[in-house]
Each structure stands twice: as C-alpha cells, then as structure tokens.
C-alpha cells in the first residue's frame, strides 16, 4: 500500500530564500518581519493580477481578500517544508474556498513548492495549476476544492488522524463567508466541537460578498459570530488585512484547548486594487490588459 506521489518540488525560489535566510534547516517556519510580510503580500497581489490577466479568466476578488491570511500562515505561523510537501508532521493548510487557487499557487511558488515562472501557466492545458485546486498534481495542495462547503470536514478528518497518531500538527481551513451558506459547513462545525478537536482552526474570509452581491442581500449570515459560538467554537474577530492582528489571533488559537477556533477575518473583496474593491463584478472576472496595467501600478 503506497500513497500516490506528487513528484518532487523544485528548490526554493530566490524570493523565498530571502525570507528563509534566518530560518534553520529545512523546516519552513519563518520568522519574517511584518515589513517583509507586507512586501510579500504586495508581491502575491501582483502575481494574482498577472496570472488571472494572462489566463483570461479566474477569481481575483476572493484571492485578493485572503492575501494577508495566507501570508501570515505560510511565512510566519505554519510549520512546513517546501522540500517535502508530504512531510507527515507538516501543519496543513486546506483551501476550502477553492476559487482562491491563484493566491494559493502564488504563495506556494514564493515558498518554493513550485517555480515562480510556472504561475504563468494558470488554467492552461496540461498545467499543474488548474482553475480550482487539484491535490493529485500540485505539490503543496492538500485538497481538490472548488465545490464549496467541503473543506472543513476534510480538515476535521486530517486533525482527527493527527490526534490518533499522536502528532502535534495543526490544521488550518480557509472558508469564504458566502461558502458558509452550505449546510455541510455547519455539519462539520457541529462535529468538530463534538469530537473536541483543538488542532483545527477555521478562518473565514469575511469579505461580505458573494457572486450575486452582498451576503446580507443574497443569504444573510448574521449574527455570524454568534452562530459559531452556538456551535461551540472559540471565536476571534480580526481585521483580515492586518498581519499583526492575524498573527496574534493564530497564537491565541493555539492556546485554546478542547474546542476548535474560528478566526473571522474582516476583509475587503478585491483588496489592493481600487476598481476591484467591494466590486462583485470581479468575483469571477479577469481584468483586461489595461486593467492589469492599472492594477499593477497601484500595487507598486
């Protein structure tokens, strides 16, 4: 019985090496400064715009809103090893909102799981970078996502496996707020509390919008934090674009015992590009060449 192999990841990219300088050995638990992470966040936003612009399709809005969340996790909080993406003791990051795939790919590339140059192949035939994530072909991708609502259950399973094995890895699941319309999310929320799992952290990218408009108009989630509390979760609310607040919240979550934690990250859809911010048109629409140019200028 053997697990399917995903192929060896290439060596750490130059940009990641800069950040990795102060890190010992292979374990990629970075102590990047906030300034370095802010620079990385900007870089990731530039990748997102460039990738989706080149592909001619994709989801910029929900990728841009989650940038700081992934930056904090991959460059500060998580214990992971780009040279060994199947390392058994790695912290797991599960992207449940699979349409933010461009952000995940850019982050993995900057960590060294993929060559940065490969980002230009997004959504093309035979690319490892599918429109939505595919765990069978992309190193570092934990779950095949895109069908919303499935990641928290998957993350709970990964966390239960760790507890059974006596491993101390942690599992981070990124959900969209619109995604929380799905009943399965609440099935998983109930089960996570029932199984008293504290290695599981859900992060909700609470940008307030979904395809058809504002959450409150399409399907009102309020009172959102109370819902999670009622399901037995520790709730932490942060500004999802404030790296300090995010890092502090992940630290607090580690101290919570006997129950799971959700970090509700208040964000702005399309964050960083003026004409995409809070604009539902850019949920699933690629910027044209001129828009790419303007966006990149704004992100200099």
């Amino acid at each position: 019985m053997s697990l399917p192999k995903k192929g060896n990841p290439p060596s750490i990219s130059d940009s990641a090496k800069t950040l990795a300088d102060n890190v010992s050995a292979e374990v990629f638990s970075l102590s990047a400064s906030v300034a370095e992470m802010e620079a990385m966040a900007k870089k990731l936003r530039r990748h997102i715009i460039t990738m989706i612009g080149k592909a001619g399709s994709g989801h910029p809005g929900g990728s841009l809103s989650s940038v700081e969340i992934l930056t904090a996790l991959y460059f500060k909080v998580m214990r992971h090893k780009p040279s060994d993406h199947q390392w058994a003791d790695r912290d797991r990051f599960i992207l449940s909102k699979g349409h933010a795939a461009p952000l995940l790919y850019a982050t993995l590339a900057e960590c060294g799981y993929l060559p940065v140059a490969e980002l230009a192949t997004l959504r093309q035939m035979d690319s490892r970078l599918q429109g939505h994530t595919d765990r069978t072909i992309t190193p570092g991708v934990e779950m095949s996502a895109g069908a919303l609502g499935q990641g928290l259950s998957f993350g709970l399973g990964a966390a239960l496996a760790g507890r059974l094995n006596g491993q101390d890895y942690r599992v981070y699941v990124l959900l969209g707020d619109g995604e929380c319309d799905e009943g399965q999310v609440w099935e998983a929320a109930m089960a996570s509390t029932h199984f008293k799992i504290d290695s599981l952290v859900a992060i909700v990218d609470n940008n307030g919008q979904q395809i058809d408009g504002w959450n409150r108009d399409v399907m009102n989630l309020d009172p959102f934090p109370s819902k999670w509390r009622a399901f037995g979760w520790e709730v932490i609310e942060v500004d999802g674009h404030d790296l300090n607040q995010l890092i502090q919240a992940f630290g607090e979550a580690e101290k919570v015992k006997g129950q799971p934690t959700v970090i509700i990250a208040h964000t702005i859809k399309g964050k960083g590009v003026s004409f995409m911010e809070n604009n539902p048109d850019f949920h699933g629409k690629a910027p044209n060449a001129i828009e790419v140019e303007i966006a990149l200028k704004e992100l200099e």
Binding site: P4, R92, L156, G157, Q184, A191, H194
Partner: protein
C-alpha cells in the same frame, strides 16, 4: 438452506481487520446498529466516529482521514451514500482517488416495508459513473467477507453495496473472491445469466428450472461491477450467443447497462435486462416486492427464453 446476514458478515470482518491494522478507522451516520459497524465501535471506540445524521460531513471527514494516512470505512444506507452526498463523494474522494471504503447496506428494494425513501435503486448508476471507483456487490456473506478484505488491502476508493435481508449462501467456504473477475457459478452454452447481489441466487434457480426445458445457461456472478470483467462478458457473448442480466437496481446505469456497454462494442448478441423499469417501488415484504417488480427466477427464465428467440 440457512440464510446469513451479509451486514453481520461485514461487521465481524471489520472488527477482525481492526485488530490487524491500527490504521483502519470507521465512520457511521447514526446507523451503526443496522450497518453493524457497532462491533468495531465497541472494540475500538477511539477509532470509531459516529458522525450523526450528517452524511456529507461523514464523507469529507473520511477523505481527510485518508489524506493523512488512515484507511477509513464509512457506512450508512445506500440511499444516503452516494445519494445524499454525491458531490462530496465526487470531489472529496473520487477525484483525488483517496483510500476511502464506502460500505453501504440496504441496497435495492429488498429493504421492504420502509418503502421508497429507503430503497436504493440508483446508487450503482451514481457511484459507477465516478472515474476510478471500485464497485462491488457481493452475493452472500462469504463473498462479503472476502470483498471487504480485498478493499482493505487495495489502495483507492471502493464502494461495497450490501442488502438488508439475510441471504442463502451461494458460495462454499473454499470460494476465493478476485477483484475484477467474474465467478462462473454454472457452465452452459445456450445463454448466459449475469447477476449481482441476491439476484445471483435467483439466477441459479432460473438456470436449474430452464434445464428441464433443455436450455442450458451459464451463470456468472459479476460481483465486481467496476472494473467489470470484460473478458468474461465477451467470452460469454461469443460462446452462448445471448445474455440476460439480473440486478436489484434500475436498468439505467446498473449492471445491465455496464454489460451492454461491453457487449455492444465487442460482441453484439441479444440481451434482456432484468431490473427495475424506470419506476420507484413501494412498501411491502421483500419477496412480494421482488415479485411485483419483476426480479425473480421466473422473470430471469422469461428473459432467457426471449433473448434466445432473438439469436
């Protein structure tokens, strides 16, 4: 002949496997008394996860456990998995080809009195449509034990469908199940009956009755519905010239469809599908239902006569 519960055979096998392999974990959706996962649950409470009446989450949790090296068996009724959570089975298990074993009970209409909502007649079409899924429908308790063990030993997604009623054994203790291979239950040259599940017993009875009319049927137990034994089907078509399939499922997308796909493209011969005809069944005793909806030895016999006539 004494009948034996295939569900109990599953439960006991799971317990045995649990003792041998610490990576085996079991999930259920509040039906462990019916699916018989309770034997495992009692012995290994720390490795058993009752997910409550929430099948979508159960399937996702099983996938997550598998992705971190466990071998999960997840059980409920066949109407609920895959019926209730087809997308979860598709994206969380089938697409990534994760090592999850879905073993469901109460397949078919022999569920009986509980009626339409609990009679799974579409599950084989749903699960059989998923690329790379292994699908097994055992014919009796002896085959169930071996199929469950085979699933535990082979990496990848499996679906094993069991029925509610106890069934008479069709195999002896010396039977050896081989994944992807049909078992020849009886030789014959006039026609071939290909059956799964409790229809295998009906097929054998039909073959015996037809001998009195001078019609000699080959009987194949096609317990591995996927990957199906194409070689055995083509050989049967070539050597007997007529095929009748028998299953407790709609004729759309089940055994009959799978066999017809092979026959039509390789060795076209007349076929008759003994299956549910585009309808839901109702409450009733299992035997009454099987008779009402045309799933008995008599119906198979009629099918054989009709197929032979068209040779």
């Amino acid at each position: 002949m004494e009948t034996v519960s295939v569900r109990e055979a599953y439960g006991r096998t799971l317990l045995e496997l649990g003792m041998e392999n610490p990576d085996i974990v079991v999930l259920d959706a509040d039906l462990s008394r019916s699916t018989m996962t309770r034997f495992f649950a009692r012995q290994f409470p720390e490795r058993f996860f009752d997910c409550g009446i929430a099948e979508q989450n159960m399937v996702g949790v099983a996938a997550g456990l598998a992705a971190s090296g466990k071998t999960p068996f997840a059980s409920t009724f066949a109407v609920f998995v895959p019926g209730r959570c087809f997308d979860q089975v598709r994206m969380s298990i089938a697409q990534p080809q994760l090592n999850v074993k879905l073993v469901t009970s109460h397949g078919g209409i022999s569920v009986g009195e509980d009626g339409t909502s609990h009679q799974s007649i579409e599950d084989l079409a749903l699960i059989g449509s998923l690329p790379g899924f292994n699908v097994i429908v055992p014919a009796d308790a002896i085959e169930t034990v071996q199929a469950v063990k085979a699933a535990a030993e082979s990496y990848g997604p499996f679906y094993i469908r069991l029925c509610r009623p106890k069934v008479a054994p069709v195999f002896g203790e010396d039977y050896r199940f081989k994944l992807g291979k049909a078992a020849t239950m009886k030789q014959g040259g006039d026609a071939t009956i290909i059956a799964i599940g409790l229809m295998v017993k009906e097929a054998l009875e039909a073959a015996q009755n037809l001998e009195r009319e001078g019609i000699y049927c080959r009987v194949l137990n096609m317990s591995t519905l996927k990957p199906i034994d194409e070689e055995a089907i083509i050989k049967a078509a070539a050597e007997t010239g007529a095929i009748v399939t028998a299953e407790e499922h709609l004729e759309h997308g089940g055994l009959g469809s799978a066999v017809a796909r092979v026959v039509s493209q390789n060795q076209p011969v007349p076929m008759v599908l003994v299956a549910l005809k585009d309808t839901y069944a109702k409450s009733g005793k299992p035997a009454e239902l099987l008779e009402r909806y045309g799933l008995t030895a008599k119906d198979i016999e009629q099918g054989v006569r009709s197929a032979i006539k068209r040779k």
